[in-house]
Structures are given as C-alpha cells and as structure tokens.
C-alpha cells in the first residue's frame, strides 16, 4: 500500500474477501482462508510439484482474525475498528493499527479487497 495515502481515505473503504476466496471452519474453532489455485505454466507446475510447493494461499486465522473476517459483511474499516476496540477493550488507536496491519497482510496475499477506495487517486 502506498504510505502516502491519507488515513481518512481508507477509513470509509469496505473490506471484503476476494471473489474466489473460500472460508473453511477448522477444528480449532477458527477459520482458514483459502485463495484460488495459482495460475502456473506447465514448467512451473512441474517444478512446484517436484518441490511440493503449495497450490494456493491458505491462511489459518486465530480467534481475533476470525472475529475481524467474520465481520466483513459490508461495514467500512472504521466500523470494523470500532467493533474490535469494543470487543477487546482496546483503545481506538490500537484497534486501528491492529486492523490495518492485519488487512495489509491479507491484501498482500490477495485474500481481501477494499471496496470504495481507488488506490490510484481519490
């Protein structure tokens, strides 16, 4: 993400799971996020099979991550932060930083997209 982006710009962005991402309940009571299979050419596919590389991004969330992802139902980022702050008794600044860092990791893995916000400009 561009560090020059103002916080106000993304406060109203609505995070949601990317289209092809699926959620799977695991035995720990949390959820796993499974991305779509990687698009690989035949040679890379052979190489990946040889080295047993993963075929897709799979992320196991903890309780807090599950709480945040389960609330991605159309609420914007600031409401998501407010919910987390109230749930975990965090200050608003702590919740902002935590949710932003978490979403940044998911964005890097293309598991989440931000609606209502254009990275290219306002």
């Amino acid at each position: 993400m561009n560090p020059a982006i103002a916080a106000e710009d993304i406060a109203n962005a609505v995070p949601r799971l990317a289209t092809e991402v699926t959620t799977v309940d695991n035995d720990e009571g949390t959820i796993d996020l499974c991305g779509p299979p990687f698009k690989r050419g035949p040679l890379i596919r052979l190489w990946a099979r040889l080295w047993r590389l993963p075929e897709r991004v799979e992320v196991r969330l903890d309780e807090i991550g599950t709480y945040v992802v389960s609330r991605m139902d159309g609420r914007d980022l600031q409401h998501l932060c407010g919910d987390l702050a109230g749930h975990l008794q965090l200050s608003r600044r702590e919740a902002d930083a935590a949710v932003t860092a978490f979403l940044r990791l998911l964005l890097l893995r293309r598991l989440v997209v931000l609606d209502g916000w254009n990275e290219g400009g306002s």
């Binding site: 106000e8 407010g82 975990l88 965090l90």
Partner: protein
C-alpha cells in the same frame, strides 16, 4: 527593540482580551480532563487527547499531543540554570507558528511567570505560551497546533505542577500510570500495539551511575494472556531458564515473584555473584490489561507501583476500557 514592540502590542491588545484576568481562568475540575505527567511536570488536558510522540530526557525534550488523527498541542521543556528571556521565546514562537500560515500576532500577555501569545487567522485563533518555574528552573513551552479554544491552554497552564529532582513524581505514559520515588529517570519507552514498556533508571544523588532499573510493561488482552490462570502463574511460567526462584506469593491481586540469576558481567559471574530481580504483576480490569513491574538493582526493591486514582486524577489516554469510538454497528 523587539521587546519594546511586544510590550506595545501587549498593552494595545490586552484591552479587548475577554478573559485577560488571571483569576478568570476556569478551574481544572469543572471539565472532563485527564492528567499528563512526566519528567517531573504535569498538567491537565482534555480527556480525548493522546500522547503521540515523546522525545527527550528529564533535562529537556518535547512531546506531541493528538486527538484522533489531528495534532492538538506540542509541549517542550528544558531545565536550565538561569531565568530565560521569555519575550525572546515568544518571538521565536511568533516566527515558527506564523511560518507558512496566514496568521498574525494578535496579542501577548503575561501569565504566572510566563507569557502567552495569540495568533489570529482565517481558521481561528492559535495560542502558545512559555512559562518559567523559578524554584525548579524549568521552562515549559506550550504551542497549540490548530485553532482551539484559548481556555484549553489556559487550563493547562493553570493546572501545571513541577517537581524537583529530589521529589517523587508521577508518570503517565500511554496508560502506564505510576508514582516513582525521587531519582528515577525515564530512559526508554516502547509503545506498540497492545504493549507499552517503560524503563526507568535510578540515579541516586543526581549521579550518572544507575543503581537500579525499573521496567513496567502493560499488556493488552490480559484475559487471553492469562487464560484460566492468575498473574502469579503467568510470571512463573515466563521466568528465564537460568532464573532461580527465591520466593513467590500473591496478595490483594498483586503477584510477587523474586528470582536470582547470574551476574550481569563476567567479573560478577567469576566471583559467583548473583543478581536479584523482583517481579510484581497485577490485572487492570477496566481495560483488560496485565501490568508487570520488574525491578533490578541494589538495596531494597521498589514497592508495588499499582495506584488507585480518583476519577478526577485519571491519566491521559489510558489505553483500554470502553472506547469512545467503539459505537460502530454490532451484530
């Protein structure tokens, strides 16, 4: 010359100052305020403000206060030997505040051992002040970063207190709120998501060799950290592999664990000297925090630093507790 001009401005503008009488300053207790205390001085500020930046030492430094994402005030302090030229300080402020902004100096007036200046611009009024404590030789410079009611600064000025080097003093740092005996100086502050760690060194008699170290850590999500256990069990679980347990107990919600470990230097270890460390831990229920106090040093250990404040003495930006911004939709 500059001083003369400032005096003229002061005389001209003092006439239409609505609250130029010092006695007209509102008291600190009639509004929702919290205490900011560090490096031997303290003041009262609006409850929603937070400490965003802190640089410096007991001798000098500066800090930045924000409310949400907006900067509110910067405060700098300096302990010097002589009485400063506050007029010159205000003139510097005039240069700095008005630089690049459409502001003009609207007045300078005297406050208790200091001066207060106001600038007027299209967006409103910005004020700054410089105060001098002659007993402890401390200069404080207060600067509003955005147009704010002058009463905010006036209340902060009226409520300021200054402690000397031989006095105990209070520290409020991102929710850590402790009273330390004389001689303890803040040497490190680490604030990340869910953890505040503050470290003080004890310099007895104003020397330069530290005789003790006190570290206070304040963790968020205490209920998750502790699980079904209590702070004592948590402390015992997190001892170092070379720590030898000496004693442990719990009383009134405070767990105490004393351990000894190898000496800090090769010389100490060759001589078989061991270093004692004392841990005390307790929960802060309103914010679901776990506070761990660690003491290392010579002499008698620090007592438990847990404090129970009155509501009007609450610390600025106590992280945790019901967040005022947590009113978003809930399922």
């Amino acid at each position: 010359m500059r001083r003369i001009m400032m005096m003229a401005r002061r005389n001209a503008l003092a006439k239409h100052r609505p609250d130029s009488k010092r006695g007209a300053m509102p008291t600190a207790t009639d509004v929702d305020e919290a205490v900011l205390a560090l490096h031997g001085w303290s003041c009262r500020l609006p409850i929603g403000w937070e400490l965003a930046l802190l640089r410096g030492t007991w001798r000098s430094g500066h800090l930045l206060l924000v409310e949400g994402r907006a900067g509110r005030m910067s405060i700098s302090w300096h302990r010097g030997s002589g009485r400063p030229d506050l007029g010159r300080t205000v003139a510097k402020l005039d240069h700095r505040v008005a630089q690049g902004r459409d502001l003009r100096l609207a007045g300078v007036e005297s406050v208790d051992d200091g001066a207060l200046a106001r600038w007027v611009g299209p967006a409103g009024e910005v004020a700054a002040a410089a105060t001098w404590d002659p007993v402890h030789r401390l200069v404080l410079v207060w600067r509003q970063l955005e147009p704010l009611p002058l009463a905010t600064l006036s209340r902060a000025l009226a409520s300021r207190t200054v402690a000397g080097g031989d006095d105990p003093c209070r520290w409020t740092l991102h929710g850590v709120d402790v009273d330390l005996p004389p001689g303890w100086r803040l040497e490190g502050l680490h604030h990340v998501i869910g953890l505040v760690r503050a470290t003080w060194f004890l310099y007895p008699g104003g020397g330069i060799k530290a005789a003790g170290v006190c570290t206070v850590r304040r963790y968020a999500l205490a209920s998750r950290l502790l699980g079904q256990g209590d702070p004592e069990a948590w402390l015992l679980r997190h001892l170092g592999p070379r720590d030898q347990l000496e004693e442990h107990d719990s009383e009134d919600g405070v767990a105490r664990v004393t351990v000894t470990g190898p000496g800090p230097t090769w010389w100490d270890r060759l001589r078989g000297r061991r270093r004692q460390r004392c841990f005390q831990a307790w929960r802060e229920d309103p914010g679901d925090r776990l506070v761990v106090q660690e003491w290392v040093g010579t002499g008698s250990p620090l007592p438990c630093l847990r404090t129970r404040r009155r509501p009007e003495d609450r610390a600025l930006s106590p992280a945790g507790g019901p967040s005022p911004a947590a009113e978003g939709p809930t399922a």
